[in-house]
């Protein structure tokens, strides 16, 4: 009888323990965060362990390589899929995601939790969070600041024989270029040169056709030449701005840079191809997003003192802009776990988490992190990141951004790589394409 009683007590006890554990598990959610498959995503996995420990929720990650990222994730959003609870979507998606109800609006949440957008770098708030632009309607929290900048072979630049030859040829020191014209001189100087018995080339720039590569690269240059997306005083008035004489010069410059100074076969290159060209010691200069810099800094071949970083140089009239990259983090409207997803954003927005984010290789957009007196010297590329973030411009973030992007991809690639027509033809055609798209939208 005693043993029966003991057994019953043990069984009941075990049941209570198991049921209790199951109850605890039921209250913890599994959140899926969707982003691109790249180095910062790995850093976020590491960072998120703190959230898991504190919240009891578990994090799952869905990372898609950049060339397929937009296709895959926009498909997910458009189909109302429940794969992603949190989305770190590209800045250009914000208009479509907001207007089509794919992201939830975060204003009330920010107010309730005391998250202020004024605490973030202004350009990232406009670029990653706001729709319509420059209005206090927030659909994301700036998550990862990014911008196109340049990397150069500091070790090659500092070689006395090359310095002497460059000075003799161009009448100035071989150093960080202040203008795009100087950048092209440097690229030409290195093109086809033998360094340590190996033929090297001038610059790795963006020329990719399939997704957004050549647009990001060409725009990065065109802005500083005077390209505008439209009349600043009248929305969607494109003629004379998109295809202005200055913009045409900018596009001609980009083609000249491609023709003179890129490695052979560099006709379909984006982020990873440029990194490969630079890390393998093929090029003296590399155009790429800032996210690549931590990886370059620790690279065995080109890392440490061998590489330097600089912000986009100025155009012919002295104006200086850079193409904005980066993303904000949003809660997907179709998610069943919106509250837990908001908890993640609340956790992510904390200053100490943002500080840790930067230390792991994520570019925080929180001002308290980047304005910290020690930030600029914390990494060799930190100052360049700050300089670059101060001069950013972004591509259209309209709901029709994908069509606008496809048009520029085609026009730029046709002219720059396929050598068809003139820069004027390309930009006139682009203005027409964009007008047609806006007309279709009823905006023109």
């Amino acid at each position: 009888m005693k043993s029966i009683l003991l057994s019953s007590t043990l069984i009941v006890g075990a049941y209570v323990t198991i049921a209790g554990a199951a109850g605890t598990q039921a209250s913890a959610a599994e959140l899926t965060l969707c982003w691109a498959a790249w180095d910062p995503a790995n850093a976020l996995v590491e960072l998120s362990k703190d959230f898991e420990a504190k919240s009891g929720n578990t994090m799952k990650f869905e990372f898609v390589p950049w060339p397929n990222f937009a296709d895959r994730m926009l498909n997910e959003l458009n189909s109302g899929g429940k794969l992603c609870d949190l989305m770190i979507g590209d800045s250009q998606w914000i208009g479509g995601a907001a207007e089509n109800g794919q992201y939830i609006k975060l204003n009330d949440f920010f107010d309730k939790e005391g998250i202020k957008m004024s605490d973030f770098i202004p350009a990232t708030v406009v670029g990653y969070a706001e729709w319509p632009k420059n209005t206090p309607n927030y659909w994301a929290l700036p998550a990862f600041g990014d911008v196109v900048g340049w990397t150069y072979r500091k070790d090659w630049f500092s070689r006395p024989e090359l310095q002497a030859e460059f000075k003799q040829k161009y009448g100035r020191d071989l150093g960080v270029p202040k203008t795009f014209a100087e950048l092209k001189d440097i690229a030409e100087f290195f093109q086809g040169r033998k360094i340590d018995g190996k033929t090297v080339y001038g610059a790795a720039i963006y020329t990719e056709r399939g997704s957004e590569g050549i647009t990001m690269g060409a725009m990065d240059v065109l802005y500083s030449f005077g390209f505008e997306y439209g009349n600043p005083k009248k929305a969607y008035e494109l003629d004379g701005f998109v295809n202005s004489a200055d913009a045409i010069k900018g596009l001609e410059f980009y083609k000249a840079l491609y023709d003179c100074c890129t490695p052979p076969g560099h006709s379909d290159a984006y982020m990873s191809e440029d990194i490969d060209a630079y890390k393998s010691g093929q090029v003296a200069l590399q155009m790429n997003f800032a996210f690549t810099w931590p990886g370059i800094h620790v690279d065995a071949n080109v890392g440490g003192d061998k590489s330097g970083y600089f912000a986009n140089p100025a155009g012919p009239t002295g104006i200086q802009f850079a193409q904005l990259g980066g993303q904000g983090i949003s809660v997907v409207a179709a998610s069943d776990k919106q509250q837990e997803a908001l908890d993640y954003i609340k956790w992510f927005a904390q200053p100490e988490i943002q500080k840790k984010w930067w230390s792991l290789g994520g570019y925080s957009a929180l001002r308290s992190v980047v304005e910290d007196p020690g930030f600029a010297t914390s990494q060799p590329y930190a100052q360049t990141f700050l300089d670059s973030m101060a001069i950013v411009k972004d591509f259209w973030a309209e709901p029709s951004y994908a069509s606008l992007l496809q048009a520029s991809q085609k026009r730029f690639h046709d002219y720059v790589v396929a050598k068809q027509g003139t820069a004027k033809d390309a930009l006139d055609g682009l203005a027409e394409d964009w007008k047609d798209i806006f007309e279709d939208e009823g905006k023109y």
Partner: protein, 315 residues
């Protein structure tokens, strides 16, 4: 005797199924068995086709669920048929289609003719030749981009070795004149074995007695080839052309991996263009009209071709 054997046979024959399933005729039972297939066919083939045709007359965009869908009549069709860029992609597709078929038929038939001869290692060579078609197009596209790499690519090196040209002086996938040929070369490399196999089946189906009779009549090898081999292999060859034609009309993965449709839009085939319209620009109505036009084109051409094929078979 006869009577009893008929009776025995009648007793051995099972009663009609309808007698066992009371109230159902044989025809009804047949329908019950066929119905799942028909329902499946309607659900995954016919319904999407009808739905696509319906969408093709609207301005529907799948990424704008909140916007009202408007009937636009034939506007999508007119826009497509008058779009210069679409005609350029059609030209690119035709160029790719014609050259791949010509090369694959010539090389495939020649290989089949050689392999059909009895020699040592015949089976081994057949296996080696058919290897490329067993690979995934995405994998093939990826590794051919390395082979075409101007600085380290084996293809450029081989061309340089044979012609004396600097391997890094030309880019197969970056040059507008060479890019269309770069995709033709890869597709031919990959799919010639398929044509070869079909031709080989045709060659092996020719009875040797016909050749023996021709030998008796003192027909030359050349005459035997043109009057026996070619006519008897022709239906097989036409079938191979049909398969490759349909496959290459919808070619996507290989070209996307190799050139992404570039440089510019030189290698942007209709399937790539259609995908961009449907899943990058999200112009669902427009893309549906585009798909209907392509469907009608392929269906029409294939029907004409199949009729011709049947005529050849009847001869």
């Amino acid at each position: 005797m006869l009577h009893s054997s008929i009776d025995r046979a009648a007793q051995a024959t099972p009663p009609p199924v309808a007698q066992r399933i009371k109230g159902l005729s044989d025809r009804a039972i047949a329908w019950i068995f066929v119905a799942p297939s028909i329902v499946l066919l309607l659900a995954i083939n016919i319904f999407p086709l009808i739905w696509t045709i319906r969408l093709s007359f609207t301005n529907f965009r799948v990424n704008r669920p909140n916007e009202p869908v408007q009937f636009v009549g034939l506007r999508n069709y007119l826009n497509i048929l008058t779009d210069e860029d679409i005609w350029l992609t059609m030209q690119a597709t035709a160029h790719f289609l014609i050259w791949t078929i010509v090369l694959q038929v010539l090389i495939g038939f020649s290989l089949a003719y050689l392999i059909n001869k009895k020699f040592r290692g015949n089976d081994l060579w057949t296996t080696i030749i058919v290897l490329p078609m067993m690979l995934s197009p995405a994998v093939v596209g990826n590794f051919w981009t390395f082979l075409y790499q101007p600085q380290i690519g084996l293809f450029n090196y081989a061309v340089g070795f044979l012609t004396g040209a600097d391997p890094s002086s030309f880019s197969m996938i970056g040059d507008t004149a060479l890019a269309p040929w770069s995709i033709i070369i890869v597709d031919t490399w990959m799919w010639t074995p398929f044509v070869m196999l079909i031709c080989l089946a045709g060659l092996r189906s020719i009875p040797s007695s016909i050749y023996e009779a021709a030998e008796c009549d003192r027909a030359s090898s050349w005459r035997q080839f043109w009057t026996i081999t070619v006519p008897m292999v022709l239906p097989f060859l036409m079938l191979a052309i049909l398969f490759r034609g349909i496959e290459n009309f919808k070619m996507f993965d290989l070209v996307v991996q190799l050139t992404g449709g570039g440089p510019g839009s030189i290698t942007e085939l209709t399937s790539i263009n259609l995908k961009r319209e449907a899943f990058e620009k999200w112009r669902t109505g427009y893309a549906s009209a585009y798909a209907v036009i392509l469907f009608v084109t392929v269906f029409g051409l294939a029907s004409i071709y199949v009729k011709a094929l049947n005529k050849v078979k009847q001869r």
